[in-house]
Symmetry: D2
Subunit: 135 residues, 4 copies
């Protein structure tokens, strides 16, 4: 595994109250929304548009996700989602991501998401833009 | 407005805990999920597949929605979503829907959703299947 | 109805790809999330914390919502949600809200949401902070 | 690790169209909703109510989740979520879960979710009901 140069990225978001569950904390599933949004914003910043790919029949897919929940986010919290990218095999790449609360920098979540892409015939395939990003 | 014959339908669902918000009740936005699922199941039962239409470039769209929230659903509640369909103009139809809690039949929500369909050129258009259903 | 002085507010957000449905547009229900987030941010900016109220047994509730969908938001779109507040009766207030796409200022959604608050005994009740805001 | 006797459970659900994303498949995050709903229904069937616990200040929390995505669910698909429970340490337990499509029994997702519970003082703690279930 090699960490890609120039493959670090961060976004800052604020918890929205509809994301809380009856315990008053952000529901576990919502973190996957945050992580995905950060990945897509990163890819977009590198010229790779998830939605344009989808319209062209190229689907970026998640094959595995590991999540370590360290502390909860609550209503009113703001947080930073960071990302680093590494290649894990010829056709697979991994996003290493962290969520940290703003203010006290408390670690909220650590995640590792392995992805690939699939062409319109359903075969694993890295589009040239992704190939270039991972080079 | 004429209520369509054979245009009544119902589904029964159970609240899922991730649908609750910090007040411990189903969040307001989630009811639109319930209402949409009931409408799509109704259309599917009449041979009209929302997703097949989307792939063919025909988008069924909501143009207006009115919701009266009467009582909250909570964790553990089961409920029935009902539907009646009426034509409101040559190209528009309305779904009248209710959500009632199972057990005590308490009225939870009344909704009126006006829809139309749009063809691949972005023009209002009723597909033949919808035309037949509204006849 | 009197429009409250100093009761205007706006937030700017960006569409997140998980908010899109199979038509490639923001799903109807998601707009209620946007509208709620704008209302809660507005109230918070006036010192009224939805979550603190919930913990104290005071529930702010929506009793009616009217939504006019004018144009869809798509992946990559950024948008502004605006809000004006008016009193509609001794115990009820209305939020008038608009969603407009940034860039071309296209009108996406117009909404009117009527709310009240309920105390821990389940009775309609306006907390002093809300009373002051509506004065 | 010992697999608990009598700790197997299954629910059957149907994909709802709002759960699809722009690729026309169920979004990755939604599977955590399915998995949670299955876990909560299982616990409820054993007399353990997530929401009653939350109101009493006992929070059941997820500390780690591993997800292997094997195949996508699409609009119209029905599926079964299964669950087995094992104890992994004095205060932690793991749910092993699978999602399989109905009809062809295709494996869609394999997940392992490690949980614990936290009392009102924020300390790890297994309520007697959970202790009994894991015995």
């Amino acid at each position: 595994m090699t960490l890609m140069p120039d493959a670090c990225f961060a976004i800052e978001l604020k918890v929205r109250d509809y994301e809380l569950d009856a315990q008053g904390v952000v529901n576990n599933a919502v973190y996957l929304n945050y992580l995905e949004h950060c990945r897509h914003e990163f890819l977009l910043s590198r010229g790779i548009d998830f939605n344009r790919y989808a319209r062209e029949g190229i689907d970026q897919v998640v094959v595995r996700c590991e999540l370590d929940y360290k502390a909860p986010l609550r209503g009113g919290d703001s947080f930073r989602v960071t990302l680093a990218l590494e290649r894990v095999s010829p056709l697979r790449f991994a996003f290493l991501q962290e969520v940290r609360r703003l203010g006290d920098d408390r670690l909220v979540l650590v995640a590792r998401t392995i992805g690939t892409a699939i062409n319109s015939k359903g075969r694993p395939f890295l589009p040239p833009d992704m190939e270039r990003l991972l080079a």
